[in-house]
């Protein structure tokens, strides 16, 4: 426990220092946050265009899809904020920053994660929150304590799922120098898939987002519970509340993959 508190203290200080240096230029900070929010809004415009042509997508209304979109985006944006700089891992390895980290008495994943905090990506969080608020206002959700709790839990668990996937795929950098396109296919690509009801996917893609890269647990399954929708796929109801467990497993898997990758790096030095 004392270990965890000390580690959190170090994390807070490292990230605090990064945030302070980003806030030095207030105007440029405000502009980049707004810019990111506007660009990501275009993302959402795609969904509005689709619903200009149709009334429902596999039984989901525009407001319901907006809800899926917002939860998936919010979870992804929080992960991106905290660990999006994992995309720079190839550079950290090449420049020897990773070696410098290994000379310190802290874990390597912890130090890589604490190396930055991209505050300008707050724009994504803001945009997702706005869409979420609009979706909730349009939907008539039969709120209960359980549903309110699930709304919070699904965002946190979703962020954990994305984080696990992100960490696992970022480690490709330990084997291949220019690897981030592959990793981004799973992170950004995963967030894109998470924004739609999985019922519209073909069987193989559906299995992929449930069993391989469990994006279906970020928004789709918990939303069935929160929005009280029948599952047209007829999957077990337990899946609708399984997100926290899937999030924990995803993080653990990401951590194990990382440990293994660093072990490989330390034995080959490449």
């Amino acid at each position: 426990m004392a270990e965890a508190a000390a580690a959190f203290g170090v994390y807070r200080r490292l990230v605090g220092a990064r945030i302070r240096s980003q806030l030095q230029y207030r105007l440029s900070f405000a502009l980049s946050v707004t810019g990111v929010a506007l660009v990501t809004f275009l993302d959402f415009a795609v969904i509005l265009v689709i619903f200009g042509q149709i009334d429902a997508l596999a039984g989901w209304s525009v407001a319901e899809v907006a809800f899926l979109y917002a939860v998936s985006s919010l979870a992804f944006a929080l992960t991106d904020l905290a660990i999006g700089h994992l995309d720079l891992l190839p550079r950290m390895i090449r420049k020897g920053d990773l070696d410098a980290m290994l000379t310190r008495p802290l874990g390597s994943l912890f130090q890589v994660v604490a190396a930055d905090f991209a505050l300008r990506r707050l724009g994504r969080v803001l945009q997702a929150l706005v869409v979420l608020a609009v979706a909730i206002a349009l939907l008539e959700i039969p709120w209960t304590a359980g549903r309110v709790a699930m709304l919070v839990v699904m965002v946190v668990a979703g962020a954990a799922i994305f984080a696990g996937v992100w960490i696992a795929f970022a480690t490709i950098a330990f084997w291949l120098v220019d690897s981030m396109e592959v990793a981004n296919a799973f992170t950004y690509g995963g967030s894109f898939l998470g924004q739609y009801p999985i019922a519209i996917f073909g069987a193989w893609l559906r299995r992929f987002v449930i069993f391989v890269v469990p994006i279906a647990f970020v928004a789709y399954f918990p939303s069935l519970y929160v929005l009280d929708k029948p599952d047209t796929l007829g999957m077990p109801a337990a899946l609708q509340v399984a997100s926290p467990l899937v999030g924990a497993v995803s993080l653990l898997a990401g951590w194990l993959v990382w440990q293994n990758a660093v072990r490989h790096y330390r034995s080959t030095g490449s």
């Binding site: 000390a6 203290g9 170090v10 200080r13 490292l14 220092a17 990064r18 240096s21 420049k95 020897g96 920053d97 070696d99 410098a100 290994l102 000379t103 310190r104 008495p105 802290l106 874990g107 072990r263 330390r266 034995s267 080959t268 030095g269 490449s270």
Partner: protein, 327 residues
Amino acid sequence: MALVELEGVEKSFPIWERHGRVRRRRRIVRAVDGVSFRIERGTMVGYVGPNGAGKSTTIKMLIGILVPSAGRVSVAGLDPVRRRIDVARRLGVVFGQRSQLWWDLPLQDSFDLLRHIYRVPFGRWRANLDAFVELLDLAPLLATPVRQLSLGQRMRGELTAAMLHDPELLLLDEPTIGLDVVAKARVREFLARVNRERGVTVLLATHDLGDIERLCSRILILDRGRVIYDGELEELKGRYGYERTLIVDLEEPAPPLAVPGARVERVEGPRQWLRFRRDDVSAAELTAAVAERARLLDLAIEEPDVEEIVRRIYVEGMAGEAVTPAT
């Protein structure tokens, strides 16, 4: 027990080579090939060798960044691979080519962060910081972001950063690279003091024999992954004709100067290269002798570099075998 012990340490890397257009073949390169040595507490050891000799690889194995392919490494009785974090607390590391400090932050903030990372008790940290700030004259730089420091200033910051947590062993990889004479002297003085006053053990990897000469009585020479010399620097000089060169610019071209204790190696117009051994004649005596024979405009003294010493060791017929002086 010695603070650092290496026994038959090897490190091989797989390298992919192209064969034909697409096919690649794996080849094993042995960067470190059976290195053994020990370093006693409180000593200062110079670690030299040409580029690619395996110096940095050995240092990375001491830190636990790299896992040896064979052999045994121990630092303070610990295996750096399995106990990397415990070893890290006892180590101070300075890489000349890359910074351990936070680029965007003022120097002071880097030192604060290190206090938390190494969990140094506040009083101890404060006392250390005050001592190093005074010794290295850092006070005017504490508020400056690291990226705005000159190389010499940054290196003073790096040395302080490496010493704040009272490490037992200080590992330095080319700490004086690119520094001017004044900055070099400062780094050397600092190392000499922390070794003398705090008993810190120092392993100094360098290309600059000047560093070793001022600081270390013992020198380890590595070449192609093997230790080819382990002993006293003085002994090395005596054994392998540690010759310096005096370069003189005369007022006008002259025939090769006949000066006792030196021989002219090269003449180019008014410039002459005189080789001499320091045991035979001092640079001052030699200069005076030259000045007696011709009018002198300018002069410079060239120290032999590591490559040359390594070359000479090979020439003297010691190739491949470690040379260990009788103890």
